[in-house]
Structures are given as C-alpha cells and as structure tokens.
C-alpha cells in the first residue's frame, strides 16, 4: 500500500484531536502542556506533508521548524508558569486557577 498525502493528514488530524481532547479533559497542568505539544506537532505533520506532496518547495518545512522552536520556547515559559503556579497553590490542578472568572 502506497503512503499518500491522506495518510499523513489522517495522522496529523488524529494527533491534533488527541491534543485538543487532552487539553480539554486533563486537570493536570503538565498533561495540558503535553496536549499542546500534540496539537502543535499534528499541525507540523500537516505542514511537512503538504510541502512534500505539493510544489510549495521547502516552505512547509521551514514553518514547522519555526513551530518547533516556538514550541520549545513556549514549553520553557509554560513550565515556569507551572512551577510558580505550584509554589502558590501547592498543586498543579488547573481547575484551581480560576481566579480570573468574571
């Protein structure tokens, strides 16, 4: 069976949806971050796949490289937030961080 664009898109979609579901269901902040990573990488798979199967050149790869760098930076900031959150609340249950409700 030949691997086509649709397979990649399918995998990307599965990763994306898994990430979103993870963000929406997990109360653990770290798990939420993992969901974010899944979403980002699902998108990356799509970029790379489109770049590979169309004549867009290396644009997709470049964008995915940016996304990876961005994700790393985001992870660093987010983990710092998580640590502070833990220091303040003695937990990383994000449902406890609802002080900003209206």
């Amino acid at each position: 069976m030949e691997v086509t664009l649709n397979h990649y898109l399918l995998i990307g979609a599965v990763m994306f949806v898994s990430g979103v579901v993870c963000m929406a269901t997990k109360r653990n902040g770290i798990a939420v971050l993992m969901g974010v990573e899944l979403v980002l990488n699902g998108a990356n798979v799509n970029f790379v796949a489109f770049a590979r199967y169309t004549n867009l050149g290396l644009d997709g790869q470049i964008v995915s490289l940016f996304v990876i760098v961005l994700a790393a930076a985001e992870a660093a900031v987010a983990l710092a937030i998580a640590l502070n959150f833990y220091n303040n609340h003695q937990t990383i249950d994000i449902d406890q961080g609802d002080r900003l409700h209206g």
Binding site: V20, M23, A24, V32, G97, D98, R99, L100, H101, G102
Partner: protein, 791 residues
C-alpha cells in the same frame, strides 16, 4: 536754534517739571511719617519753577529787544513800510539761518521743536512762534504767576494739615467736613496751569494752540473744583467746562476749515532753521505782504479769496468759508474769554480759591481768548471783526451792569473781568489791535492785583465774601486797602492829564496803566464810529461803560474799606494778612501803576506795536478800519470824554456810598424791578435753562421713555422668547437625545453583564470553547460559503 526760543522753551517746560515732581513725589513726601505733612516744599518748588521761568522770559525779552531792533520810547511811524517788512519773508526766498535773522527785517522767530506726526501734507508738530507779543505775554504771565504763587503760599496755608475742616460742607450728622489738606495738590495744579498757559502763548501752530487751550481748560476745571466736596464748586467746575465745550465746537470747525483750505496749521513760515523750506503759514497766505486780501469774483459770481500756495501756484477759497473759519475760531475765544453769550461760567468759577481766580480767571486764562483773537487777527475778515466788535460791546455793557449790583466781592471782580475782556475784544474787532492787547497786559496786572487784594480781605475776614458785612477795613488792613485802591484807580482810568493843563502835547499824564490802555480803546472806538457812523453804538457802549466801571469799582472799595464797620464782630476779628501775601500785592501794585508808563509813546505800547500786522480794508466789506493816523486825530477828544465819564462814575460812587446822598437803598427800592433783573444777571442763566437745559431734559425724557417702553420692551420680548425656546430645547435634549444615549449605554451594560457568565476561569472549558468555535467556523465556512458563492 534761536536763543530766545531756547529760553522760552525752558521757561515753558519748568512748570511741567514742577508739576511732575509734585504729582509723583508730593504725595509721599506729605504722607511720610513724622509730621512732614506740614512741609511747604511743594509751594517752594512751584514758586521756584515759575520764578525761574520769569527770569528766563525777562532775559528773552531783553534779548528780543536788541534782536528785533525795537525802540521803546517815542511814537513810531506806523506806516505800510513798517508792517510790510514783517511778512516780507514769505515773498523773498532768502536762506535766513538762525544766526542771520537779526540782520533781516523779520520781527518774529518761528521754528519747530519736535515733529509729532506727519499724515501726508498734514504735519503735527510742536512749533514756536516768537514775536514781541509772545515775549511780553511770557514775561507778564510768569511775573503775575510768580506773585500769585507767592501769595498762595500764605492763602492756602490752612490746607497744610492732616485734618482740614471745610466749614462750608456739612456732613450727614451736621458737623463740618474733615479731610486731609491738599496743599501740594493745589500747587501741582497751578504749575500745570502755568505750563499750559505758556505753551498756548508759545505755540507756533493752531493745532498746538488747541491742545494747550484744552489743557488750560482742564486745569481750570481742576482748580475751580478744588473744594470738590462743595456742591457749588463741583457744579461750577462742570459748568465752566461744558460752556467752554460749546465754544470749542466752533473752534474745531474753524480748525478744520483752515487745514482743508490752506493745508497747514502753521502761523508762519519757519525762519529759525538753516535748511528749512520756505512754506508760508496761515498769516502769510491769508494776506499778502501789504496786508491785502485778494478778493475776486468767479464766473458764477461767487466771491473767493486768492492766495499763493507753497509751490507757487495760486488757489482760492470761497469768501464765506474764511468768514466761517474766523467765526469758528472766534467762537473758541468767546468760550474761553467768557464773552456774550457764553459769559455765564466765569462768575461761577469764583468758587475756586482766590489765587486761582486771580491767576486763571482774571489775568491769564481768560486772556487766552483775547490773545488768540489777536494772533489770528490777519485771518479775520471784516465781517468777523464786526462780529467780534459787537460781541465785545454787548459783553462789556452787560457785565458792567451786573457788577453794579453784585455784593460778593469776588463776583464784582469777576463781572468786571468779563467787562474788561469785552473792551479788549471790542478793540480787536475795531482794528485797534495794539489797543486791545495793550489793555490785555495792563488789565492782567491790575486785575490780578485786585483779586489778590480781595483774597487778602477774604482771609482777613475769615472767609467772609459779602461786602455789606464789611466796611472800614482800611484801618485794619492798610496795605491791602491801598494797593486795592491803586488797582481801582487803574481800572477806572482816572488820571491827571498834565498835557491838557500845560498845553504841551509831548507831556506825560500822571496816570496808572489802565488810563492809557482804556484811552487807546476809546479813541479807536471814536475813530471807528466817525468812519462808520452806522456803528456808533460801538463807541457809546465803551464810553458809558467806562463810567459804570468807575462806579462799581469805587463802590466796591468804599463798601469794603471806607466808612464805618457794618459788622462789628467781623471787624474786630479782622486782621492784616501776613507779609507773604502783602508783598505780591505791592509788587503788582507797582506794575499796575507803571507797566504802561509813557502811554502810547511808552515801552509796552511800542513793544506790542512791533508785532502788529498791517491790515488793509477789504474791498466791498463796507467797513473802514481806522488807521493809526486817524486815531491820533481823535485821541485827545476821546481821552477827555472817557476821563470825564469815569470821573463822574467815581464821584457818584463816592456820593452814594460815602455820603449816602442819594441813598443807595432808596434807589434800590425805586428801581426794584431793574435791580432784581441785574441781580439775576440779566436772567441769562434762566434763559439758558429755558432754552437749552429744559429742552434737553424734555428730549432726554422722551428718549428715556422711548428707551424704556419701546427698546426695553423689544429687548425683554426677545429675552423672554429666548428663555422659552431654551426651555423647549432643554426638554428635547433631556427627553430625546439624553435618553437615547442612555438607552444605548444601558443595553451595552446589560450585554456585558450577561456575557460575564461565560468567563468562568476554567481553562479546560475555554479549550472546549475554542475547539467548538473552530468546528463551528469550519462548518459555517464549508456549509455556507458555497451558498454565498451561488448567490
């Protein structure tokens, strides 16, 4: 610049310096702690300024004597060649520098001190015009002013206190008014007045004359209203100012006609600048070098006057226009010199302190009108001169008759001043230019003397001015009484005519100044009446009035100084004035006696004669102006008549007020109606009240009614409509605009509140929203976008 101009300018500006120092420094020096309020510094400063001015003027006069090559003694040959020389400058374009004018024939020095502005051809500058008349006036004004300043040191002495009591003003609780004394203020005003008067005399153009004319007026206003708390004083000040405005109205009209017709304000061309262009002044344009007015008839039979323009071309102005200009200028003189019909202000002006009456309202300021009439003599046409003569004749008679019944010592003198000013105006109107100005100078001396003497009486009698309460005062105040007698004899023109007795025509009469000057006027009048029999009234009026003058002046003297005291208490408290007041009296008495020494062959007459403009008759006017040789023929006759009438008047006064035979009280009863008429000053005040004041009041009440009913009604209606419209507008604003805006705001707030519930703060929920939102957008785009495309 000419040395005389330098001296006179300094003399002119000195009082201004005094005024400025007193105004800016006087207040503080008097209110400084430690009782310095009592300082006489202000008086000394003023006296110093005006005294210095006198010395400078005298020097200028002496220099002028040699510069103008004047001979003081003997009767000069008054001929055409003499007068023609005076205005030869206009015709012969010679480059006369300031140094060389002594060699020329010019009998005047004219130049410019400072140019204020220039509008096209119109030039407004501070000019000077100095001839022998200016020099004599300067010396006379500064000398008299110095005497009066010194006198005022004594007279105003009771103002030198922090708590002056004005006995004539009652406050609401019945006590007298207490106020700080105004010593320094009085002297500041006097200095300002001297400055204005001297500026008026020095002026070289008519515009400057007008400025100083008004300044003199305002000084007069300030000084009449010096006791401003007295209702009578403030009213009198207003009256003087307003009546003068009437005359000044004419003055301005005359001024405008002159500037539009001749294009210059200057009296005469400048001859005091090395490079000044020869542009002729008013005097040189109106009459040519032979004193002739060039009257011509145009094609439409209109009379015009031709004159040469500065550029050499000839232009003309209508005859009637120059007559109007002359009448306008004369109207100003009428106001200032208190001539009929504007004479009513002067007697009221006696409300001021007596030195003011002496300086301002007898010797100098009122003389300004006569002076200006004399200055403008070349511009006056025969019709104007006739008007002047009749005005003078009416004035001198009316005022003299009122003086006969006046009982206030200062008012008698005030009316006599008006009467004497009438004499001067009459003389000028008759063409007796020198006679008029001669009388102006002599009158200034003896009238200021008499006013100061009356001031001395008033101080001595503790501010009592009613003559019926005085009497016999010569024993208490001999200096005042006998100096006053000198003035009385001088004004009456009594004399011992030696040359009749000896038959020697060159002999001198033993006479005081007034005899000579009045003689000159009466002689001019007699000659005029002989040349123009239709105007004989112009001789009778001054002749009869000479008798009346002698009567009322001796009446004054006998009432005050002779006989027995009528009010013993007043007599007992009466005292002679201090020396600071009597010495000026003696000095002035000396000049009242001797200033006209030599009569018409004497220095004063010759000095004035040097400035006379030769004037020839204007063809077609029907008036013959007397020449000097004409007058000489009638001189003896006129002098005899005048002396006779004056002697009769004096004798009558002696009989009535010393011998009581006939008794004045009896005469008063018999002529009760006439007496009342005269006491009410010929009812001029009432007449003006009916003629002007009441109509103005009526018209004013109409206008005020119109204002209140119509204009105010309209305005109120507009205002009310405005208020109503505004009320509607407010309702619309509040009901519609505000409410719609409020509604939008409320709804926005409601939406905000309802959306608040969505923000729970739960992260997972937000993620769900995002996801759902994305799905929704996805569905919308993919489900609805094709529909739009199809549509």
């Amino acid at each position: 610049m000419d040395i005389k101009a330098c001296l006179l300018t300094t003399a002119w500006l000195l009082p201004l310096v005094g005024f400025a120092v007193e105004v800016f420094g006087g207040y503080w020096s008097h209110h400084a702690p430690g009782g310095r309020f009592k300082s006489r510094l202000a008086a000394y400063l003023s006296v110093g300024c005006i005294g210095g001015g006198f010395l400078l003027s005298l020097t200028a006069l002496l220099i002028g004597l040699s510069d103008f090559e004047l001979s003081l003694w003997g009767t000069p040959e008054h001929g055409t060649e003499h007068a023609a020389a005076q205005f030869a400058v206009a015709d012969t374009p010679h480059a006369a520098g300031s140094e060389s004018h002594g060699d020329t024939d010019a009998k005047y020095v004219s130049g410019s001190l400072y140019e204020l502005a220039r509008f096209g051809n119109l030039r407004i500058a501070i000019d000077y015009y100095i001839d022998s008349l200016t020099l004599v006036m300067f010396t006379m004004v500064t000398l008299i002013a110095t005497c009066i300043h010194v006198f005022a040191i004594g007279y105003m002495d009771d103002e030198r206190t922090e708590d002056h009591v004005d006995h004539e003003v009652h406050t609401a609780d019945g006590s007298h008014l207490h106020r700080p004394g105004r010593y320094y203020r009085f002297f500041a005003y006097l200095s300002l007045f001297c400055f204005s008067m001297l500026g008026l005399v020095l002026a070289g153009n008519i515009f400057m004359v007008f400025i100083f004319w008004e300044l003199v007026g305002i000084c007069s206003y300030l000084l009449i209203g010096f006791y401003v708390e007295r209702h009578s004083a403030s009213t009198a000040a207003n009256k003087a100012f307003i009546v003068n405005r009437v005359g000044d109205f004419g003055f301005i009209i005359g001024l405008m006609i002159l500037i539009t017709s001749f294009g210059t304000f200057n009296f005469s061309s400048y001859n005091d600048h090395a490079n000044s262009p020869e542009s002729p002044g008013l005097f040189q344009m109106a009459r040519d070098s032979h004193g002739q007015v060039h009257v011509a008839e145009t094609n439409d039979s209109q009379r015009v006057i031709n004159f040469a323009q500065p550029n050499g071309s000839h232009t003309s102005i209508p005859y009637w226009l120059l007559v109007t200009a002359g009448l306008g200028i004369f109207a100003g003189c009428v106001g200032k010199s208190a001539q009929f019909p504007l004479q009513t202000w002067l007697p009221d002006a006696m409300e001021g302190p007596t030195p003011v009456s002496a300086l301002v309202h007898s010797a100098t300021m009122v003389a300004a009108g006569v002076y200006l009439a004399g200055r403008f003599f070349p511009v006056f046409l025969p019709e104007v001169l006739l008007t002047i003569a009749y005005t003078g004749a009416i004035t001198l008679f009316v005022a003299a008759t009122i003086a006969v019944v006046a009982t206030d010592i200062k008012r008698v003198l005030a009316y006599s001043t008006i009467s004497q000013l009438g004499y001067m105006m009459l003389a000028i109107g008759l063409g007796g230019w020198i006679a008029g100005l001669f009388h102006l100078i002599t009158h200034a001396f003896f009238k200021s003397l008499m006013f100061l003497a009356s001031g001395s009486v008033i101080v001595g009698c503790h501010h009592e001015q009613e003559m019926p309460r005085m009497g016999g005062l010569r024993k208490k105040m001999p200096v005042t009484a006998y100096t006053m007698l000198v003035g009385v004899i001088a004004i009456c023109g009594l004399a011992i005519p030696l040359h009749w007795v000896t038959g020697f025509s060159g002999g001198w009469d033993i006479a005081f100044s007034g005899y000579h000057s009045k003689d000159a006027i009466v002689a001019t009048a007699l000659t005029y009446a002989n040349l123009n029999p239709i105007h004989s009234l112009l001789f009778l009026a001054p002749l009869i009035t000479a008798g009346i003058t002698a009567f009322y002046m001796f009446r004054l003297w006998f009432y005050t100084f002779a006989g027995k005291p009528r009010d013993q208490e007043l007599y007992d408290h009466c005292h002679e004035s201090p020396r600071v007041m009597t010495i000026p009296l003696v000095i002035l008495a000396f000049f009242a006696m001797f200033c006209a020494i030599g009569g018409e062959g004497g220095p004063l007459f010759n000095l004035l004669g040097a400035s006379e403009t030769h004037v020839t008759d204007v063809a077609g006017s029907g008036i013959d102006l007397p020449t000097h040789s004409d007058i000489a023929q009638f001189h003896g006759q006129a002098g005899m008549l005048a002396l006779l009438v004056a002697g009769l008047g004096a004798l009558l006064a002696y009989l009535m007020y010393c011998r009581r035979q006939p008794d004045p009280a009896l005469i008063k009863r018999q002529f009760a109606a006439t007496h009342e008429f005269l006491v009410e000053k010929w009812r001029f005040d009432e007449l003006y009240d009916v003629m002007f004041v009441r109509p103005v009041h009526v018209v004013a009440s109409w206008f005020s009614g119109f204002d209140r009913r119509v204009l105010d009604g309209i305005l109120h209606w507009i205002a009310r409509t405005g208020v109503t419209v505004s009320a509607w507008d407010r309702k619309f604003d509040e009901g519609v605009i505000d409410r719609s805006i409020d509604w939008v705001a409320e709804k926005t707030q409601d939406v905000g509140r309802s959306l608040q519930a969505v923000q729970t703060g739960r992260l997972r929920q937000y993620v769900m929203f995002i996801a759902l939102g994305v799905v929704t957008l996805f569905v919308l785009i993919f489900a609805l976008f094709p529909l739009f495309l199809k549509a």
